[in-house]
């Protein structure tokens, strides 16, 4: 049950997308998100769909994995779509019980749905094809100019990678403690809300205790191995651009140009 959480989940596979430099993937995701919010016409969305599909196929990540992230926002999506359909002013097509369904409403709901779904698909694709470590490495490197204005980039990246690393550990720990308390007759499922909250105590106390213990142990272990922050620290596997990354940058530029051109053309026609 707890294992359904997909934040930061990596899908191991041997693909061109997996082996890209994380900086490329970060920039590409950023460009992709911006492009999603730039466009709202059919042709541009079609172009983006083709690009997204091509990347998904190249990544060798099963489609069901990418869509798994949608489960959590499905209710939000439905609500947002409903509000868009009923509350956008414009030319009414038909009326359901005092609520006008407008042409503009349907259009904006559709665009919004597509944007959200594509947003989740695109960002999931990035985390599914990049290990958390590579991701934070990429972030650290991309943000390193901020060091000049005294932003502790290394420390932030380190905290992020530790936090990401600890998600599966804490999930596992929760699972373990839950089982142990269930074996002593604890009941986490039935009862009223207050009873349920009370029943969580045997789970939460040991979980917090162990999280603090782990954090403490980790800090000690890092100090024992002479960790002293980012200054003068070198990497075992420094990020280096490969040939494939250059190709990816070119494709990314082409994608951006494509989106802009289609946008200009459709704007001038309509």
């Amino acid at each position: 049950m707890l294992r359904d959480i997909t934040i930061g989940q990596y899908y191991p596979a041997d693909s061109k997308i997996h082996s890209l430099d994380p900086r490329v993937k970060l920039l590409a995701t950023l460009v992709y998100i911006i492009s999603l919010f730039m466009v709202d016409d059919v042709f541009s969305l079609l172009f983006i769909s083709v690009a997204l599909a091509a990347v998904i196929v190249t990544s060798k990540v099963p489609f069901t994995y990418i869509m798994r992230g949608l489960h959590s926002i499905i209710i939000l999506l439905i609500f947002a779509a409903a509000f868009n359909i009923f509350l956008t002013p414009g030319i009414p097509i038909f009326t359901i019980w005092k609520l006008n369904v407008t042409k503009e409403g349907i259009k904006s709901a559709a665009v919004m749905m597509i944007r959200m779904i594509y947003l989740i698909a695109g960002t999931s694709l990035m985390t599914l094809t990049t290990t958390p470590n590579a991701l934070t490495d990429g972030l650290e490197k991309s943000l390193s100019p901020l060091n000049k204005i005294n932003v502790p980039v290394h420390e932030i990246a380190m905290m992020m990678s530790i936090a990401l690393r600890f998600i599966p550990i804490l999930i596992e720990e929760t699972d373990k403690i839950m089982k142990a308390q269930m074996a002593r007759g604890a009941d986490f499922e039935s009862g009223s809300i207050i009873k349920k909250a009370k029943n969580m105590v045997p789970l939460l106390v040991p979980l917090f205790v162990s999280a603090f213990r782990r954090a403490n142990d980790l800090a000690m272990a890092m100090e024992a191995r002479c960790y002293h922050g980012g200054e003068g620290r070198t990497k075992m596997k420094p990020l280096k651009y490969q040939k494939g990354d250059a190709v990816a940058y070119v494709l990314l530029a082409a994608y951006l140009a494509g989106v802009i051109i289609i946008k200009i053309v459709t704007n001038s026609i309509l």
């Binding site: 373990k176 089982k179 142990a180 009941d187």
Partner: protein, 282 residues
């Protein structure tokens, strides 16, 4: 209350890239009142196997019968099963949560719905049987030493008086004296109440000297299932899967090869002593 495992297979993370078969086609019968040892290399599926016995993990394929009833039946009372099949986990000290040691041990009996008087009595009995002095009972479980925490956690399960007691490596990380004390305690409870005990262990010595029957796990399958004597006869095969026979078995084998008139199928130190004295008298 016999437990029957009927072709049980279990896979972790089914339907993901990390799918892993931890148990494959396990068939076992666990009759009442046996003292059973489960041994196997790290990752051979011992913990996974025992977690099926009280329904914490649900078999991917196959079923389990407790007392003749299918435990995966919709009408089956899982809570009842869990109060009858008690389980001490690997590193149980991580499950302590109450404000005092005494309260923590009372958690299980309370969940069984016993009246307050009985709960207190059971908690008191369990704590004294695992050798926790009375003055410690009112302190916080987080202030205890590792070994004391372990004892409190074991007491928490003993206080439920389960008909089947499962212990997953209860002695890992304890000193030799503490280890013997805990195992002796478990054996005594077993003798007194006739409950079924299932002991998962890495120590061949422990298993050989306490249990009536050994189940050897290897790669998620049951490799051997017999009395300690029979199982340790095949020490060569055991070595191949990362296990060994108890030290005395090797000693007796070497004595025999050196020409001494002793039996080599000895598994405990006291048996070995008797054999050697007998041989010396000849």
């Amino acid at each position: 209350m016999p437990i029957i495992l009927d072709h049980v297979t279990y896979k972790y993370s089914t339907g993901t890239a990390y799918e892993k078969t931890a148990l494959s086609d396990v068939c076992l019968t666990i009759p009442d009142g046996q003292f059973i040892g489960i041994i196997g290399h790290t990752g051979s599926g011992k913990s996974t196997l025992v977690q099926h016995l009280n329904g914490l993990l649900k078999a991917t394929e196959g079923t389990i019968y407790y007392n003749g009833k299918d435990i995966y039946d919709k009408t089956f009372d899982m809570k009842d099963l869990r109060t009858q099949v008690g389980m001490v986990f690997q590193y149980p000290e991580h499950q302590l949560f109450e404000t005092t040691v005494f309260e923590d041990v009372s958690f299980g009996p309370k969940n069984q719905g016993l009246p307050k008087k009985d709960v207190d009595l059971r908690a008191y009995e369990a704590l004294s049987s695992v050798g926790i002095p009375q003055e410690v009972c009112d302190s916080s479980p987080f202030e205890l030493s590792g070994g004391q925490k372990r004892r409190v956690a074991i007491a928490g399960v003993l206080a439920m008086k389960p008909a089947v007691l499962i212990l997953d490596e209860p002695t890992a990380g304890l000193d030799p004296k503490g280890r013997d004390e805990i195992l002796d305690l478990i054996q005594e409870t077993h003798r007194r109440s006739g409950n079924t005990v299932i002991l998962v262990s890495h120590s061949m010595e422990d298993v050989a000297s306490y249990v009536d029957r050994i189940i050897v796990m290897d790669g998620g399958k049951v490799k051997y299932d017999d009395t300690p004597k029979e199982v340790f006869k095949s020490y060569k095969e055991l070595e191949e899967i990362g296990l060994a026979a108890p030290q005395v078995t090797y000693l007796m084998k070497e004595l025999k090869e050196a020409g001494w008139p002793v039996k080599s199928s000895v598994t405990t130190v006291s048996e070995a002593r008797d054999e050697i004295i007998k041989a010396l008298k000849k």
